[in-house]
Each structure stands twice: as structure tokens, then as C-alpha cells.
């Protein structure tokens, strides 16, 4: 009986909050509903439990368990994974366990707190630790000789707020036998990239290079094969690279003053920055670099008297190139006008002190979204705090995906730059051309959508996704579903939506229309009118299928 109870208690009670903040999971291990008898406050209790491997169930000896009852207290688990804290006063405390080689949560963004109640009728606590994954391998050249000192990068793919993100999952360089080993890998999807690297032949003084290769033989991320790494899994990733000649690039950057700050970088075809550095100097305003053959974008950013100037030059390299000339032009500044129009039939919704419009909306631009070198730009209020203006500054030329948000009770009715509808299209910023100001219109006659998820059998819904049917990714919203299957979303822009309820949001790229389209046959279609309060019932969709 105690064993069964312990298992029951270790099942997660999950509460997901969907907002711009990371999910918070509270794992409760005690029967919270149980009324604590009015015990003598002098009574002391003993908390015991064990730490186990979440995959094998094997006990983990010498894990460190920490509680926060009064003062912080620590204990090691013994050889059979058991721990015990004695002399505890009744109350509730957080408890956690750690050990090198294990994770307590699947992702660092999960702010998981495991709480335990100390008092009479305490059950043993079981804490799960997730074993790390390891990626290792061997890299050799075309002659079968190991390549030493080559950078190897693990690229993690993860889905956050319905969007795919790639980020570094660790890097190493190969040892003298051409081997690498990267541990500390959480369960998930990973690409492995070997190179690019240069090898200086010290005998001849010449450089040879290795182009980047994504496992197993792809030259860019999009055609590479990711590894699905489960908890505790070790995978072998071997590469064979061929040395290629390097070519010399040189030229000048038009600089206004010799000591202007200059940043020079090369992007490859997939928009990633190369590890080959671009040398600046020795003469003022001159640069040189050595690269492998290929297509590159040469990116120049320079600062003159605090202002950013930038230039981008497309380079197709298959021989030495000299006399490259980069003339940076001033980076872009785009003023933003925010108009708040009270359109609600129930009168102005604005409460409290009248806030300047610039504080009601936020606008976020991303270049190369979803790649390793995603750059983000956020408009900042400037000038008089009582009457600020909103400006996006120092934007280099490029294409940006735009996200506009409004604080309640407002919603974004429209966001435009010239003829570009920023709720549906990307913003293109071109060198030498003034980008039209951005105009954001906010309304407060948003609709409320509430309802119930048709709970089927044993699968529990966790969240609803509300997607405008015109396919815009940035306006997709989500909300959590209560234990009883209820949900409510407020401040929604009037319009046509597809509503879906999912059992599992983890890893679901719901902000990607291509991914969401697969589920649309199960969606509930709804048209929301201004100020409407609408109730619907939504079918449950299994995200895994």
C-alpha cells in the first residue's frame, strides 16, 4: 500500500501557463487536499524517499537532495538511492535532487518546483532524474588520417511558444586522434556540425580548409539529419572531410575616421556566420580574409559617432579576390506611431492613469528567425517619459519577421509600414531607401472566447491554440485548459479563427502554418465579432498523430 501510494504521489500534477513566460510546472507530491490534523507544533517529522533514474528506474546513489525547511538542508542518497531528513517541523517545502550526468527537468526553461508537505501521514517521496545524452565521434580526412583541432558543434532544435529555435548545445574541438565527445545533452533533437576549420601547414606556410559538414554529409542545416536523443542515449557521429584550398579576399571599407569601430563578418549560404575571421588592418580601412570556395555574404557594420553604418556584399569565391569595396550606408531607424482607438460599445476600457500610447504596444523584429544567428530588434520608447516616441533603431538591411503585441485590454487591429501589412507579411529594409514609418492601430472591442474541450477517454487536454485563418504566424495565440477542460481567451481581434485543443504542447510547432495545417481537419471554425463573448466546444486533438 505505501508503495502504491508513493507511485500515485509521484505522478505529475501539471499546470501549464501559456504566455510569453516559460512554462511553470508544479509537481506536487503530497495529498494537498488532505486536511492536516491540528498537530502539536513541537512534533518533529522525518521525510524520506529515494532518487531514481527516470528511464531505468534504477536507484541513484550519492545524489544530492535539498530541502528548504527553515534553513536549507542537504542530504546524499545512500547506495540504494534512499535519503532521509529528520527533525522537521510541519509545513511545506520545495525539494530537489541533483547529480552530475543527470537533469532534474527536460529543459532549463521549465521552472519546475516539486513541493512536499511535511506532517503526519507523510509518504516516501520519489524524485526522478533524467540521464544525460552523449554525442561522440571520429573525424578523418580523405586519406583516413584523423583531423585534429577541428571544431564540432551540437545544434539543439527546440520548440518554444510554438516556434522552432535552434541554439548551441555545446561544442568541442577534436583531439589528436580526431575524436570528440560532447556530454550534458538533454533529451531532444540535435544536429551535429563538423568544421569549418582551417589547417595551417607549418611546413609550407599554406592554409587548407575544411568546409562545414552537417551530419552525415549535408552542407547546410536544412538538408542535414537530426539525431533524436533520448534520455541517457549515446550516439556515434562520424565524419569524413576533404581538405580544400583556401582563397584570399581583400579590399577596403569606406570608413569615415580611421579609429571607427568596425565589425566584419562572413555569412554562408544558410545565413550562418563563419568561424573564419576577417582581419582588419594593418592599414586603416583595409581588410583581408581566407575562405573556402563558396557563396558568401560579406557583412560590414561600422560605428561612426555612435551611429551604425552597414553594408552587405554578395561574394562568389572560387579564386583569390582583391579590391572588394564596401561602402556602408547609415542603418535604418523606423519611427512607430501607436494609435489607440477606443471602439468598445461598453465605453472606453482604459483603466487607471492615462498611459502614453507608446507604452501600450510592443514591436519585435527578427532577422534569420529560426537559425543559429537569429538577430532580434525591439522598439524602445525614447524622449520625454510622459510623452515618449517609439523608434526602432540601427536596423541593418534585411528581411524581418514582425511580432506586434498590445497590453490588455487592447488588441492590435492593424500594423502597417507603407503598403506592407505587418500582421501578414515580412518587413524588407533596403539600403539607401527610407523605410516608411510603422503605424500600429489598437482597438479595445476585443472578443472573448471561452468553452470546453470535449475530453475523450483518458487523454487530458493541456492547451488550446487559436490561429487566424489567413495563415499569419505572428497572431497565433494559445491558452491553457483547466483540469475540468475549460478555457478562456480574452482581448481577441475580431475575425475568423481555427481553434484546436491539444493533449501535448511540448515540441509542437503550432505557430508554423505548415505544422498546424495537418490538424486543421479537426479544428473548430469560429468568427468572432467585436465585443462578442463566445462559447464553443472543441474536440481534442492528439499532437502526436
Amino acid at each position: 500500500m505505501p508503495r502504491a501510494l508513493a507511485l500515485r504521489a509521484s505522478r505529475w500534477t501539471v499546470l501549464l501557463l501559456f504566455c510569453t513566460c516559460p512554462p511553470v510546472i508544479i509537481q506536487s507530491l503530497a495529498q494537498i487536499s488532505l486536511q492536516l490534523p491540528s498537530s502539536n507544533p513541537e512534533t518533529r517529522y522525518t521525510l524520506s524517499g529515494s532518487v531514481i533514474n527516470s528511464i531505468t528506474g534504477a536507484p541513484i546513489p550519492r545524489a544530492l537532495v535539498q530541502i528548504y525547511a527553515g534553513a536549507e538542508r542537504l542530504a546524499f542518497t545512500d547506495a540504494s538511492g534512499q535519503f532521509q531528513f529528520e527533525g522537521l517541523a510541519p509545513g511545506e517545502t520545495r525539494i530537489d535532487a541533483r547529480k552530475p550526468g543527470f537533469f532534474d527537468v527536460p529543459h532549463p526553461d521549465y521552472l519546475m518546483q516539486t513541493m512536499v508537505k511535511i506532517g503526519p501521514q507523510m509518504q516516501p517521496v520519489i524524485l526522478n532524474l533524467i540521464p544525460e545524452g552523449v554525442i561522440y565521434g571520429h573525424i578523418q580526412d580523405g586519406l583516413g588520417e584523423p583531423i585534429e583541432g577541428l571544431p564540432v558543434k551540437v545544434i539543439a532544435v527546440r520548440i518554444a511558444e510554438g516556434k522552432k529555435r535552434v541554439e548551441s548545445g555545446g561544442n568541442r574541438t577534436t583531439d589528436e586522434d580526431g575524436n570528440f565527445r560532447i556530454a550534458d545533452i538533454r533529451p531532444g533533437s540535435y544536429y551535429v556540425e563538423a568544421g569549418p576549420g582551417t589547417r595551417l601547414d607549418r611546413l609550407s606556410g599554406r592554409h587548407a580548409g575544411y568546409s562545414a559538414l552537417f551530419y552525415p554529409t549535408a552542407h547546410d542545416l536544412s538538408s542535414a539529419m537530426p539525431f533524436q536523443i533520448g534520455p541517457g542515449q549515446q550516439v556515434d557521429a562520424n565524419f569524413s572531410l576533404k581538405a580544400e584550398p583556401m582563397f584570399h579576399l581583400s579590399g577596403t571599407v569606406a570608413c569615415l575616421a580611421p579609429d571607427d569601430g568596425v565589425n566584419l563578418r562572413l555569412l554562408d549560404r544558410s545565413g550562418e556566420y563563419l568561424s573564419f575571421s576577417v582581419g582588419y588592418g594593418p592599414a586603416p580601412c583595409q581588410f583581408q580574409a581566407e575562405v573556402l570556395s563558396g557563396s558568401y555574404t560579406f557583412v560590414v557594420n561600422s560605428w561612426h559617432e555612435g551611429a551604425l553604418l552597414s553594408a552587405e556584399i554578395a561574394l562568389n569565391v572560387n579564386s583569390d579576390l582583391t579590391g572588394i569595396s564596401a561602402v556602408p550606408s547609415p542603418a535604418h531607424s523606423i519611427p512607430i506611431a501607436v494609435r489607440a482607438e477606443s471602439t468598445s460599445r461598453s465605453g472606453p476600457q482604459r483603466r487607471g492613469t492615462k498611459e502614453p500610447n507608446a507604452y501600450l504596444a510592443s514591436i519585435h523584429l527578427s532577422a534569420n528567425a529560426g537559425s543559429l544567428n537569429q538577430s532580434d530588434y525591439q522598439a524602445q520608447p525614447e524622449g520625454d517619459p510622459k510623452n515618449p516616441s517609439l523608434v526602432l533603431r540601427n536596423l541593418p538591411s534585411g528581411k524581418y519577421s514582425v511580432e506586434v503585441n498590445a497590453s490588455a485590454p487592447w488588441y492590435v487591429q492593424s500594423a502597417q509600414s507603407g503598403g506592407t501589412d505587418l500582421l501578414r507579411e515580412e518587413l524588407t529594409v533596403t539600403g539607401g531607401v527610407q523605410t516608411p514609418p510603422i503605424e500600429i492601430v489598437l482597438h479595445d472591442d476585443g472578443a472573448t472566447l471561452s468553452g470546453k474541450v470535449d475530453v475523450g477517454q483518458s487523454v487530458r487536454p493541456t492547451a488550446v491554440v487559436l490561429a487566424p485563418d489567413h495563415g499569419s504566424t505572428t497572431q497565433t495565440k494559445s491558452g491553457n485548459v483547466s483540469d475540468g477542460g475549460d478555457f478562456a481567451l480574452q482581448g481577441l481581434a475580431p475575425g475568423n479563427y481555427n481553434v484546436l485543443a491539444f493533449d501535448l504542447m511540448d515540441g509542437l510547432e503550432y505557430a508554423n502554418p505548415e505544422v498546424l495545417n495537418r490538424f486543421l481537419s479537426r479544428a473548430t471554425h469560429v468568427t468572432l465579432l467585436p465585443d462578442e463573448e463566445r462559447k464553443i466546444t472543441v474536440e481534442l486533438t492528439k499532437a502526436g498523430n
Binding site: R62, L64, Y68, A69, G70, A71, E72, R73, L74, F76, A89, P90, G91, E92, T93, R94, P100, G101, E132, V134, E145, P146, D175, E176, R181, A183, D184, D201, R202, L203, S204, G205
Partner: protein
């Protein structure tokens, strides 16, 4: 020949070096060749697939490279008369020049009546050290820092220096590759993964609303001590005493293993009291430990500012440390104190030593303007530490180094074309030859006078009246004790010739020593027996000499 030239590119004007060199003349069809075999230095077996290069000595261009076949043979034809350096490398054999010692090697002289065929290039296979770091429960310690030290002759005296650092991986493994034969030590610095510093503990209040006061009674404090621990720096084979470290004597090609187990010991806490500690003005206190020779390692302890005038350092192992104490305020200052920590201690830094201030002026002959690239270097021969400063156009310099320690320093000046430091005088310190004795907290003013011109000593090392290759050539100044920076060295080339440049005018003794590469030449008693059979040379400014010297 000397490879020092390559190092000197930074510190000496190139023009001074490239005068009067035996450059090959214009390319015409020449009958001269360099032919030889690359063999494994261990077993003498020919090495295939080795890359062999040659190039004119004293130049970096005109490099020719070839790869050896099964028989290890290499051949370069149609060479102009002159001297050529020779280098080779192969997988498992790091790049080496012919008969390489420190930054010297034997160049091959090519020309009429010179032997440049039938060479045997003995390539030394690399050695390696790897091992595993485990803790007191025999579990792997990941992220520990392994440090490799080698005991070798360094600038003419025996010294143990740090050679590399490596981080242990998830299995606790570390690896140091591409090592030359020699004597090594391994040390590990790490913190227990579970260590909780006493200061880091937070007070967490019960959620039942009782703002429960500290429940960490004495009993709790005792229980906690299991986690208030640290690892002292631990040497192979698992000792915390440097003098008990086991040397790893590696032969060429040897792969040694050195596992180290760490034992956590109770961490100590130091309470530092000093009126001048003012965190708002920026103050830093850190602990360093002297490992081998000149290498110091910062102790990964935790520093907590308590209030004005008080700082606490927790997580400290017992041992001998240097406590460095820095103020970054309006008048930055630095003080040091040697301390022995054996229990939780109060430390008073009042009588700590204060960094000296050193400034001065460099005078060029005839009042010529100073090169703005000129550098002054002070070298503490005993500790190996150096201080440096750039010289202004007016010839002034100031050493702004808060860590400057009192001691005996030998002075040199670099990057002044055709001139070397001739004489030193000082106020606030005693001077003998090129050496100045600096005391704690003093203010020293140096006056440095440069020579007008430098000399050059060329020559031939002879045995039985024939040129002798691979001898160590040393040009020894009269006052070796105080003017050791004036020593010049080279290795004789295949025809026995050598060249010593940038010689300060004065009287020297020239010696050629067979198998001299293990000699502590900076040590007068070690060099003394050779001096009486050496050749006396009086060098004048811009003088050029050609000396024949017998190999001893």
C-alpha cells in the same frame, strides 16, 4: 642556426637581422642536392608518409616540401649554394627541425666540398599523458582542470613550468598530447560538485507563514559541514604536497597514464579586516597558490563583502597562499601577503607588501629620438617573472603593474635599431651591471643608456680541424651573474659554422660545447670549466668577427 630570429621578429627590427646573410644567389641550374632518410628516432626504422621541407636559412619563403615513400627517403635537387633549414612532420610526430634543441637546429650547408647527402633525420615520436580524475567515492570528476608541468631547462636554468591545461570530460578523463620527451608533473584543481559554501546558504522561510528564524542550530551546522568542503590542488599520484608529486619521466613516443583521486576536506573561512576595504570604491581580494616554479593558480574560493573594512573568503583549503588585495578606486593600489591557512582565521593585511613604482628614461646615443616601439623589460631571474613597459617618444617609461613584486631584476631594452642597453643607473634602488634590486613599496627611477651600435660574432666550431655540427655555441659576458641578458647562443650548422648577432660591445668568452644542451648555462659553476678553454673576443660597436673555436 637559430630559430630565435622568428621570436625576435617582434622585438628586434628585421633590418638588423637580414644584413649580410648567405642568401642563395640567382637561380641557375645548380648541381647541389640535399638527400637523406627520415627515421624513427626510437628504432631507426624509415618513416614513410613524412612531410619534409627545406628553405633557405634566415628566410621564410622559397619553401619546398615533399613526402617520403616507404624507404623514408627525401631528395631536393638543383639547389643554389647556401644554408638550408630542414624540417619534417608526420602523424604521431610533431613538426621538428633537424637536430632541434630549444629554438636552435642544424642547418645544412650546401655548396662545393660540403656534405649534404646521406643525411639521417631522426624524428622523435610524440609522447602523451592521459588519465582520469575521480573523487573520494571513486566517481568521475567532470570539469576539473588538469594542469601539466614540465621540468626542463629554460633560459639556461632548470625550471618547472606550466605546459598546458585541459578540462576533464564527463568520464573524468583528460589528455595532453604532442609532448616531447622529458619530466612532467600533473596537478588537478577542482571543486566538489556538491560543495555548498557556508556563505552561500540562504534563509528560506517556511510557507506556513511563520517567518521561522534560523533553525540551523549547532547540530545543523555540524551536519552541513559534510557539504562545506573543498578539494586542495592535488598532484599525481594523489598527493596535496607539491614536494611529494610523482614525476612522469616520458621517453619519446611513450603514452603514460596518470589517474588522480581527489579527497574533499573541510573548507576554511577567512575573515579579512582592513580599514581600506571599501566595496563601493571597488576592491578585490583573491587567493593564489604557488604550484611549480613560476606558476600560480587562483583558488576557486568565494569572496563575500561583509561591510566596509571586512571581507570573507570561504571554501578555502588549508595551505600556503598569497593573498592579493586590490583597490580600484581613485588611487589604485595592490598589496600582497603570504599567509599560511590552517584553520578559520582572521587576517590583518596591514603589513602586507606594497607593489613598488618603477619609472625611468631611456637615452639613445647622440640624443637620437626614441622609437615608439621600444620596450623595457625587467626579468626576475629567480622567479622567472617579468615586468614590461612601452617607451614614449621622449624615452620615458613607467611600469604600471600592481602585481610587481620586490626582487632582483635584470633589465633589457628591445626594439631599438642597432642598439642594446649599455648601462643602468637608478635612484631608489641598487644597481650592479644590468641588474637592479627593488624593495617593497619603494619608488624607483631608472636611467638606461643605450649602446651606439652592436657587434656580430661569426665563426666555426672545430673538432680535429674539421667543422663540427650540432654543438652549443655560447658567447659569455664577463659578469655573467649580473649581465646574463647579454649571453648569445647558437647551434653549429652542418659545416660547423654559426652566427651570433646583436652583441653588446665588450669582452666575451666564446665556447663550443658538444652535447651541451642539458647544461645549465646560466649557472656560472656549470659554465666555468669550459670558459678557460674558450676563445676571448673583444667586441666593438659595429665590429664583425670570425672566430674558430674548439668543441669541448
Amino acid at each position: 642556426m637559430s630559430l630565435l630570429r622568428i621570436l625576435f621578429v617582434i622585438v628586434l627590427p628585421l633590418a638588423a637581422l637580414s644584413q649580410q646573410q648567405n642568401l642563395p644567389s640567382r637561380p641557375t641550374q645548380q648541381p647541389f642536392r640535399i638527400i637523406g632518410t627520415v627515421v624513427n628516432a626510437i628504432d631507426g626504422q624509415p618513416l614513410s608518409n613524412a612531410a619534409v621541407s627545406i628553405g633557405p636559412a634566415e628566410r621564410d619563403d622559397q619553401v619546398q616540401t615533399m613526402t617520403t615513400a616507404e624507404d623514408g627517403r627525401f631528395e631536393f635537387q638543383n639547389l643554389n649554394p647556401g644554408k638550408y633549414w630542414l624540417a619534417a612532420q608526420r602523424r604521431g610526430f610533431s613538426l621538428q627541425r633537424l637536430d632541434e634543441h630549444e629554438y636552435f637546429s642544424t642547418a645544412i650547408a650546401v655548396g662545393p666540398n660540403l656534405e649534404s647527402e646521406g643525411l639521417v633525420f631522426r624524428l622523435r615520436p610524440d609522447a602523451a599523458i592521459s588519465g582520469t580524475v575521480t573523487d573520494e567515492q571513486n566517481e568521475a570528476v567532470r570539469g576539473a582542470q588538469a594542469m601539466l608541468f614540465s621540468a626542463a631547462l629554460e633560459e639556461g636554468k632548470s625550471a618547472t613550468q606550466i605546459r598546458g591545461r585541459a578540462m576533464t570530460d564527463d568520464r573524468g578523463s583528460y589528455h595532453f598530447g604532442h609532448l616531447t620527451p622529458g619530466t612532467y608533473f600533473v596537478a588537478v584543481s577542482a571543486q566538489p560538485w556538491y560543495a555548498e559554501m557556508r556563505q552561500a546558504r540562504r534563509q528560506i522561510v517556511f510557507t506556513d507563514g511563520n517567518a521561522s528564524t534560523d533553525q540551523s542550530s549547532n547540530e545543523t551546522e555540524l551536519q552541513q559541514s559534510e557539504f562545506d568542503v573543498t578539494y586542495p590542488v592535488t598532484y599525481y599520484a594523489s598527493t596535496t604536497d607539491r614536494t611529494g608529486a610523482t614525476p612522469l619521466v616520458l621517453k619519446a613516443g611513450e603514452r603514460a597514464s596518470a589517474d588522480i583521486s581527489l579527497v574533499a576536506i573541510p573548507a576554511l573561512r577567512m575573515h579579512i579586516v582592513d580599514a581600506s576595504i571599501d566595496p563601493s570604491q571597488g576592491a578585490g581580494v583573491f587567493l593564489t597558490q604557488r604550484l611549480f616554479g613560476n606558476s600560480v593558480e587562483q583558488i576557486p574560493a568565494q569572496t563575500t563583502s561583509i561591510k566596509k573594512g571586512e571581507i570573507e573568503i570561504s571554501g578555502v583549503p588549508p595551505g600556503q597562499f598569497v593573498l592579493t588585495f586590490q583597490n580600484f578606486g581613485k588611487s589604485p593600489s595592490s598589496r600582497e601577503k603570504e599567509i599560511e591557512v590552517s584553520n578559520d582565521a582572521e587576517v590583518d593585511v596591514a603589513n602586507a607588501s606594497v607593489a613598488p613604482t618603477i619609472q625611468g628614461v631611456v637615452q639613445l646615443d647622440g640624443g637620437r629620438p626614441m622609437s615608439h616601439r621600444a620596450l623595457v623589460r625587467l626579468w626576475n631571474r629567480a622567479s622567472g617573472e617579468t615586468l614590461g613597459a612601452q617607451v614614449s617618444g621622449k624615452g620615458e617609461f613607467e611600469i604600471r603593474d600592481n602585481n610587481a613584486k620586490p626582487g632582483r631584476y635584470e633589465i633589457s631594452v628591445f626594439n631599438v635599431r642597432g642598439a642594446l642597453l649599455k648601462s643602468v643607473s637608478a635612484t631608489g634602488a641598487q644597481v650592479v651591471g644590468h641588474t637592479v634590486e627593488i624593495s617593497s613599496g619603494t619608488s624607483v627611477r631608472l636611467s638606461l643608456t643605450m649602446s651606439s651600435g652592436v657587434g656580430r660574432v661569426n665563426g666555426t666550431a672545430l673538432r680535429d680541424s674539421k667543422g663540427y655540427a650540432g654543438a652549443m655555441i655560447v658567447l659569455v659576458p664577463q659578469d655573467l651573474q649580473n649581465d646574463s641578458t647579454l649571453i648569445r647562443r647558437d647551434q653549429s650548422d652542418s659545416d660547423g659554422t654559426f652566427s651570433l648577432q646583436n652583441v653588446l660591445p665588450g669582452r666575451y668568452t666564446l665556447v663550443a660545447i658538444e652535447n651541451g644542451w642539458n647544461l645549465e648555462w646560466l649557472n656560472l659553476p656549470a659554465l666555468q670549466p669550459y670558459l678557460m678553454n674558450g676563445e676571448m673576443v673583444d667586441v666593438s660597436a659595429r665590429g664583425k668577427y670570425n672566430v674558430k673555436v674548439k668543441v669541448q
